[in-house]
């Protein structure tokens, strides 16, 4: 009865059910955040003066602990998944807006001029030139947003079994069963790593023109990859400062 995968009955779910729930509670908000971030970022690119205040506001939002938001939201959205997902969507937004802005801004002027000369209108230019070139930067932002979101869902356990795999943590404490906490932490970490790997894969598929450090220097390949994305996004503007996704979070 005290096995690693014996999920206490009060969670009303199976192990795999919890995993599905966790993924949904973590990923839907990121998707919502991305859909909101795209137009906001575009506005920030168009109106440069908008960017600093947007960054300031979002940084303060990011600093507000999720639990505080949950508690205040309970009165409006109840003890439901939605209560957990709303702040997560906001956090994703905060991470993604700077990532997209920096990505889109990094497109060289000549490229834009060339596309204009080819007769591209602003919409087509955005969709077919700027956005694809910004993909590496956007994915870098998504990687941070997704791993943060997967980690934060667990806190939902504090508002009545709304934390998916995090509910195991509350039960580990309640029943004195540490193996449940180990299970929760390991499963959550594996989910985060798998989602991260999936995003890297998507990026590689979407950016076949990028150089890949395959074969020759496998040791440095991963970081190189990350660096080249970041460099791509930043080099034209500030050669001495490759933007890392971490930095995008709060500055």
């Amino acid at each position: 009865m005290n096995g690693f995968f014996d999920i206490p009955s009060d969670l009303g779910n199976t192990y795999f059910g919890l995993i599905g729930l966790h993924l949904r509670e973590a990923l839907l908000p990121v998707l919502a955040g991305l859909l909101l971030a795209l137009p906001i970022a575009q506005l920030c690119v168009r109106f440069r003066w908008l960017y600093p205040p947007v960054l300031g506001v979002t940084t303060v939002f990011y600093a507000i602990p999720s639990l505080a938001v949950f508690v205040v939201l309970i009165d409006y959205t109840g003890q439901t998944e939605l209560t957990v997902m709303i702040p997560l969507a906001v956090y994703s937004l905060v991470v993604l807006v700077p990532a997209i802005v920096d990505g889109v801004r990094s497109v060289p002027g000549e490229t834009l001029a060339a596309s204009t000369a080819m007769g591209f209108g602003p919409v087509r230019r955005y969709l077919q030139v700027q956005l694809p070139i910004a993909v590496p930067a956007i994915i870098a932002g998504l990687r941070v947003a997704v791993s943060a979101s997967i980690s934060l869902v667990s806190v939902g356990a504090l508002i009545g079994n709304q934390g998916a795999l995090g509910n195991l943590l509350a039960d580990a404490q309640k029943y004195g069963r540490p193996e449940l906490a180990v299970n929760s932490v390991l499963t959550t970490a594996v989910l985060a790593i798998l989602c991260d790997a999936a995003l890297v894969l998507v990026r590689n598929l979407l950016t076949p023109w990028m150089p890949r450090g395959k074969g020759k220097r496998p040791k440095e390949a991963a970081v190189r990859q990350e660096r080249s994305d970041l460099k791509k996004a930043e080099l034209p503007k500030t050669p001495e400062s490759p933007e890392t996704p971490e930095k995008a979070v709060a500055r």
């Binding site: 508002i159 039960d171 309640k174 076949p208």
Partner: protein
């Protein structure tokens, strides 16, 4: 996704690939979410579905166990039952009872009365129930109380008891001179409750050195008391660790912690007469000794509360 991306060489096609990938991801997520039940819709989650009894529980092991016992008894009568476990403290669950999100909640009559009316005197368990019913929201009522009782108590650890000569005969009043040297622990809500710091000060004049927020009589409280992080704590009288760790439960002559008989709190519209009768029959069979034994099975033997509940219902001849 793979094939589109691989085949694309021109920028135009890349955008296509990106769009496909995004749409696919969106469809996947949408698919996941629509496959599940009503919990997506916040409003659906708020109101119990017609005909379904929602049994709720607070965030401690005994509450889960009692909810399982009452819930399984209803299920055996053919009622549709869903559970909403580990909600939080009474401060939260009472609100959910009022708005109908939860139909049945195992409560403790005196503790509930103290929440509704901190000034209320608690003379007998019947009087408590009458007073509590009068104070309850119009949509709610209490069913018959079970003989099983689980009170809050202020207990001190063996070390403190020895140091200050406290025995099983000592009362809360005996703490008066010692309290300023003691750190007391309890759930966060204990700090602001009448059956908590407030009452300890107003009834017994106890002012502790400080308060340490732990959990509702759970493992945090037990370990903090054992390790002397706190010297006194709010421990439930059915807690199996009292005997194991030689905690000393202080007597409560002024009856601050009143009566705490297990009593189901129900939303009137949500439960049929058959359901009411079923729950009353269960309560009648449950006594303190039984509850202690069932708690020990969950907290010491680490059995799943649902299994413990089902087994007891069977041996008690209730299902």
């Amino acid at each position: 996704m793979t094939s589109t991306a691989k085949s694309s060489r021109s920028r135009t096609r890349h955008t296509g690939a990106a769009a496909v990938a995004l749409t696919a991801a969106a469809a996947l997520l949408a698919g996941c979410s629509s496959s599940d039940d009503t919990s997506d819709n916040p409003l659906a989650g708020e109101k119990a579905e017609a005909g379904t009894v929602v049994v709720g529980s607070n965030n401690f092991a005994e509450s889960t166990l009692l909810a399982d016992i009452y819930g399984e008894a209803l299920k055996a009568k053919g009622l549709k039952v869903t559970y909403k476990h580990n909600i939080g403290s009474r401060e939260t669950t009472y609100g959910l009872m009022k708005n109908g999100s939860v139909t049945v909640l195992p409560e403790y009559n005196g503790a509930l009365l103290a929440y509704l009316d901190p000034e209320a005197e608690q003379k007998s368990t019947e009087a408590v129930n009458t007073a509590a019913k009068a104070q309850l929201d119009k949509k709610l009522t209490l069913l018959e109380s079970s003989p099983a009782e689980n009170k809050d108590s202020v207990s001190v650890n063996a070390e403190t008891a020895e140091k200050h000569g406290l025995t099983a005969e000592s009362t809360l009043a005996d703490l008066k001179d010692i309290a300023p040297d003691l750190v007391i622990g309890g759930s966060p809500e204990f700090q602001t409750r009448q059956q908590g710091l407030k009452g300890l000060e107003s009834v017994y004049g106890l002012k502790f050195k400080s308060f340490k927020a732990l959990d509702a009589g759970g493992p945090l409280t037990q370990s903090a008391l054992t390790k002397n992080t706190v010297q006194a704590a709010d421990i439930f009288t059915t807690d199996p660790t009292i005997i194991k760790e030689k905690f000393v439960v202080l007597k409560d002559p002024e009856n601050l912690f009143g009566y705490a008989n297990v009593t189901p709190l129900v939303h009137k519209d949500g439960l049929s007469q058959e359901g009411v009768d079923t729950l009353n029959a269960v309560s009648a069979k449950l006594d303190t000794k039984t509850l202690l034994d069932l708690d020990a099975q969950v907290q010491l033997d680490k059995k799943d509360p649902l299994d413990v509940a089902k087994e007891w219902l069977k041996t008690a001849g209730l299902v």
